[in-house]
């Protein structure tokens, strides 16, 4: 399989009981781009990301990551995954958490460099349970970055993050994308969507529209992304 796409989701269906979380979704993320997955709560964003990383087995359809058909444990050493809630070991220090996640991905991990990126150097010896919510979120991001992944999957990374920190996060994302890392980020915050190179609008487990923020706005005939999104979702539910 070619490695033209960092993520290649092809007609994936996944049901939980009667709920169709993913309803034949097809989506391709190019190498080195920031792709924003946009949709309301319960639209299937998290399930899609979990399917990409191999935590959810699709009922039908295929997922490939960096040219490898999933599930494939080996390719996961090139993938960074940040879950919605800061998934950390609360009784370990920041540094111990980072070293652990680096080690299980088979990397030495440049802990100091990553700590600098998320501005947690001063707290490297602090036990995670003593950190504030924002610091935990930064530590969680650091854990997803520590093994220098080629693909970064971020599930609503800025939920509960103050505006100033959110700006910082997006600066890191841009720097990383510039350095060649592919980023797939889910969000329901529209001003974040503006910062993505391409957007996918997802609702009811389907991709409703795809394109750059400008293209999306044009397709909906409005110059407000939020309105565009509501319009496109409205069409889908009719």
């Amino acid at each position: 399989m070619s490695e033209a796409f960092a993520v290649d989701v092809d007609n994936v269906v996944k049901s939980f009981g009667t709920l169709r979380a993913l309803d034949g979704i097809t989506l391709r993320v190019r190498q080195g781009e920031i792709y924003g997955l946009l949709g309301p709560n319960g639209s299937g964003k998290t399930t899609l990301i979990r399917a990409i990383v191999g935590l959810v087995a699709p009922d039908s359809g295929n997922v490939s990551v960096l040219g490898h058909r999933m599930p494939d444990l080996n390719i996961l050493s090139s993938v960074g995954y940040m879950t919605q809630a800061a998934a950390l070991y609360p009784d370990l220090s920041v540094e111990e958490n980072l070293r652990f996640f680096a080690a299980i991905s088979g990397a030495d991990g440049n802990v100091t460099e990553v700590l600098k990126t998320v501005e947690l150097e001063a707290r490297r010896k602090s036990v995670v349970s003593t950190l504030s919510g924002g610091m935990r979120q930064r530590c969680s991001l650091a854990c997803a970055l520590v093994h220098h992944p080629r693909l970064l999957l971020l599930d609503e990374p800025t939920v509960g993050v103050d505006p100033q920190l959110r700006v910082q996060f997006w600066e890191h994302f841009r720097d990383m994308a510039a350095a060649g890392t592919t980023i797939l980020v889910s969000s329901h915050v529209m001003d974040e969507a503006e910062r993505c190179q391409r957007l996918g609008l997802i609702r009811f487990g389907k991709l409703l529209g795809e394109g750059s923020p400008a293209e999306i706005r044009a397709a909906a005939g409005t110059n407000n992304l939020e309105e565009a999104f509501l319009k496109l979702s409205g069409r889908a539910s009719e």
Binding site: G54, L55, L73, T83, A87, L88, Y89, I104
Partner: protein, 366 residues
Amino acid sequence: MSAHRIAAITRRLLQQFRHDRRTLALLFVAPLVILSLLGYLIRGGASAPGVGIANEDQGPVGATLASALEKSTKIHTVIINPADGETKLKDGSLVAYIVFPPDFSQLVIQQQVIAPEIHLEGSQPGTQAPVLQALQDALTSFAAASQAAVKFQPNVSYLYGGPNLDQLDYFGAAFIGLILFFLVFVVTIVSFLRERSQGTLERLMASPLRRGEIVVGYMIGFTILALVQAVEVLVFSLYVLKVHNQGNVLLIFGFEVLMALSAVNLGIFLSMFARTEFQAVQFIPLVIVPQVLLSGILFPVSTEPTPLQYISDVLPLTYAVNGLRDVMLKGADLTWPALQLDAGVVAGFCLLLIFAGIGTLRRRIA
């Protein structure tokens, strides 16, 4: 104090239980299960321990006593050849045998002394009392019938241990293993569930880690902790409490290693059936208490009602406790077939649980 606010707290608590049916069921079902088990264990027509009788008496008294013993419900008597007695004690088919020597009647008539030989197995708590009681009953009825004032001077010998063993020696041997098993199980199941509730398990599963690597990593980590604990428990039991030990300390330690490994893997396996740490703790009355009752720690398996013996025979703790007692009270080593069986079964359970733990790990994520 506001009655209204207090009522709010009380109401909320009861509402929570209404939503957690499982806890509710446990609260009302577990006591009945445990008490029924205990009741059945003690009153459910417990099997009487097997006692061998060898009557070599040339006079009539031995036969009289032997037939009185035969009628006793406290023991189950078997006529044996005195030469086979020790073998039968060793293989566990008898807990004691009584010999009436050739001059038994003569001593009774000439000196008013009743002097049977009582050979006790000596390593199982609670099996000696029925033997001595049955003998006492037989003597009392004999004395009443013959209206003779006789003195009871039995010659008691022990195959293992001896009169110096007390309850602590019996229970200590078992508890060394039980404490370790119990604590390691609880720590493992709670840590594993925390891994899930704090979301880190999801991260682990999204990394190149293999399921087997997670289970083996957990196993080694907790086993190291368990072994440090095992050394502490062992040193305290042997040197501070002075629990009797006749065997090789390394063998005791070996059993503890196997029990720690089983406990870790049982914890990982069962964590799949609990959603919260709270529910995990509920496995204690379900998993641990019946094992404690049925593994021969308190009541020898051979004296349990027969249906319960079948259950005891499939519990890993039964074999572990048996092995530890064999080593500490009997001085068993690995050349003993009984100990090979115990060690083999415990090791087998351990392997089974490792695979069960690995096999169920994937499903708990999705």
